[in-house]
C-alpha cells in the first residue's frame, strides 16, 4: 500500500518532469572520439549477467528497474534503459564514458568500478537495445531455450531450510500440461526480516536454474531477538507475471544480548538518581551531629538538676 503510493507519487513527478528530462538527456554529449570508442569488454552472455549484478548493486538505486520507469525523481531524471530513444542516441563508447566520467547527479564510476565491471554494465544496458546486434566477432553463447512460455499459472513457491549447512533453497514451480514443472530464469528474493527492511542473503540478481531452484547460504551468526529466531522472507520479484508469491520460514540464528545502559550521574536533583551511599553517609552525619547537640543539652539539664 505504502510502496504503491510512493510509486504513484514518483510516477506523477516523472510525468511532470518529462519535458525537462528529455531536454536534459539530449544535451549530455560526449566528444566524437569517445563516441567512437568501443566497449573494452566484448559482448557475451556472461558479461551481460555480470553487468546485471553490478547494475543492481550500483545503478538501480537511482535508475530503477529497467523498463519499469521507476527511477528516482531527480533532475535531470535518471534514464530508464528500456527507452529506445536512449539507445538510438548513445553508442557503446558514449555509455562507457558517461559511466566513467559522470556528470551532475550521475557519479563518476571511474574510481569505483573496474574497467571490466563498467564494460559489463555497458553490455547489460546494450542488451535492452532492440536494434543492437552483437558483432560477428563477439562470442554470443546461446542460452538454453527457456520454457517460460510454456510453463504457466498456477505457480507454486516452496522453501526448504537445511540447518546443518545453513542453506536455504527456494523452488518455483509452474504448471505445464496439468503437471508441475520448474520455472527457469525467475528472479527470487531471499532475505531475513529486519526492523526496517529485509536483509538479502541471495546473490544480487540471482535467478532460478533448470530445476527452478535458487540456493542461498544464510549467516547463522546473525543476532536475531532474545530467542535467536529469525524470519526468512522469500518472494518472487516479478509480481506482474507470477502474482504475489510469498513464503516465510523460521531460521535458527543466534540470540541477541541487548545492552543495558547504566547511568552514573555527576549531579542529582531527584531521589531516584541519588546514590545510596551518599544518602546514608549524609543522613548519619546529620543524625550524629544532632545527637551530640541533644546530648549536650540533656547534660546541661542534668548539671542544673544536680546543682539544685
Amino acid at each position: 500500500m505504502k510502496t504503491k503510493t510512493i510509486t504513484i507519487n514518483i510516477l506523477a513527478v516523472l510525468v511532470l518532469m518529462m519535458p525537462f528530462s528529455l531536454m536534459a538527456q539530449s544535451d549530455w554529449k560526449v566528444s566524437d572520439a569517445k563516441r567512437k570508442d568501443s566497449n573494452p569488454i566484448a559482448y557475451s552472455d556472461k558479461s551481460v549477467k555480470a553487468g546485471k549484478v553490478v547494475f543492481l548493486a550500483n545503478c538501480k538505486s537511482c535508475h530503477g528497474d529497467v523498463g519499469k520507469n521507476n527511477g528516482l525523481p531527480l533532475i535531470p531524471k535518471p534514464t530508464d534503459f528500456g527507452e529506445q530513444a536512449f539507445h538510438d542516441a548513445n553508442t557503446e563508447g558514449s555509455i562507457f564514458h558517461k559511466i566513467t566520467d559522470g556528470r551532475a547527479t550521475m557519479p563518476a564510476y571511474g574510481a569505483i568500478l573496474s574497467e571490466q565491471q563498467r564494460g559489463d554494465v555497458v553490455n547489460y544496458i546494450r542488451s535492452f537495445d532492440a536494434n543492437f546486434k552483437p558483432t560477428a566477432s563477439a562470442q554470443v553463447v546461446e542460452t538454453p531455450k527457456s520454457n517460460d512460455t510454456e510453463v504457466g499459472a498456477p505457480y507454486f513457491l516452496e522453501v526448504k531450510v537445511d540447518e546443518a549447512n545453513s542453506e536455504v533453497s527456494a523452488i518455483l514451480m509452474g504448471t505445464f500440461n496439468g503437471a508441475k514443472a520448474p520455472v527457469v530464469d525467475a528472479e527470487i528474493f531471499i532475505g531475513i526480516k529486519r526492523y526496517f527492511n529485509n536483509l538479502p542473503i541471495m546473490e544480487a540478481g540471482a535467478i532460478t536454474n533448470e530445476e527452478g531452484v535458487i540456493k542461498a547460504i544464510y549467516p547463522a551468526d546473525l543476532p536475531s531477538g532474545e530467542k535467536g529466531i529469525g524470519e526468512l522472507v522469500v518472494y518472487v520479484v516479478d509480481q506482474e507475471k507470477f502474482g504475489e508469491l510469498n513464503q516465510s520460514a523460521e531460521l535458527k540464528l543466534i540470540a541477541t544480548h541487548p545492552s543495558h545502559f547504566s547511568e552514573t550521574r555527576a549531579l542529582w536533583a531527584n531521589r531516584g538518581n541519588f546514590p545510596i551511599w551518599l544518602l546514608v553517609t549524609y543522613l548519619s552525619m546529620v543524625l550524629i551531629a544532632w545527637g551530640v547537640m541533644g546530648k549536650v543539652v540533656m547534660n546541661l539539664f542534668k548539671i542544673k538538676k544536680i546543682g539544685n
Partner: protein, 328 residues
Amino acid sequence: MSDNNSNPKSRRDFLKIGSLIGIGAVAAGAAGYAGFAAQDGKEGHGGEAESALSDSEKKIKVLTEDGQLAEIKASELSPVQKDQYTSALQEQGREGIPGKHWVMVIDLARCRNVRACMASCQNAHHLREEQHHINVLRMQESEHTEPYFMPKPCFHCDNPPCTKVCPVDATFKRQDGIVLIDNERCIGCRFCIAACPYSARVFNWFEPKNHEEDEDLLYNVELNVPQKKGTISKCLFSADRLREGKLPYCVSACPNGVYYFGDLNEDAVTNGTSGETTRFSELIRKNAGYTLLPELGTKPNVYYLPPKNRMFPFEYNGKTTLEDEHHV
C-alpha cells in the same frame, strides 16, 4: 482547651471555602466548554446545506496522531484530556523501544553537501535556520590532505557526558540507546552543552520558529515539538519515526545514499536512499568504519566510513579546495 474548640471550626471554614472555589472552577469550565460548543455549532450550521444535517450525522475533520486528515461523526467525537495524553507521550518517550540499539553509519564518500538531510530535519523539528540537529561540515585534516564533507548529528553515546550533568534529569538515555531532551523539564542551564564534546546541542535563545502556530500542539518528547524558548534541543534520531518503523527524517531525505540506519542488536543497517539492508559489522569491517573522538570513552553510536573512492569530487563555492577557509 479553647484552641481545641476553634480547630474544627477553622477546618470547616477551610473546606467550605475550598469547595466553593472548586465548584466555581467547574462552573467556569462548563461555561467555557458550552461557549466553545456553541461557537462550534454556529460555524457548523453556517451553510444552508449543512444545517439540514442533524448533529449526529455531521462530520468533523480531525488530524490523527500520524498526521493524516480523517473525518468522523460529530456524535462519536470524544475529547482526549490533554494532560493525560501528554503524560502518556512522556512515558513512552522516556521508556524507549525495548530490545533495540539504534546505530547510524555515515558514508563520507557519498556526501556532496546537498543538505537535504538538514532541511528535512529542521522542517520536522520546527528549528530556526541557524539551529542544527544535524550539520554538514567542511573538513580538511591538514594542509595537504583532501577536503571532504561531514554530516554531524548527535552521536547518542552509550556513555553520554551530557546526561550526567543535567541537574533536573531533563536529558536522559533510554533503553534503546537514544539520548533525548525533555523540554518540559529543562531549566536552560546549558550544562549539557558544555559537557558535550561533539557540540551536538542547540539552545533556543529566541522564540522558536512557528511558536504561534505550535502553541496548541501536544508536546512530544520524541519530536521536541513544540520547541520552547530558553531550553535545549538536539538530534533525536527521529525517535517518533522509529516507533512507526520508518527511517529518520535525515536518512530518508538524502538523495545520495550517505546514511545507513539500523539496529545494532539485529546487526543490520538500511540505506535511506536505496532501501538496501546490509550487515552492520560487515559494512564497518570492509570500509574501516570509525567513530569520532573514541579516546574520550563516550562510545558513540554514529559511525563514519572514510571518504575513499568518492563518487563526487569535492567542490564548494566552485572551488575544489578549502584554501579560503581557516583550517590547521
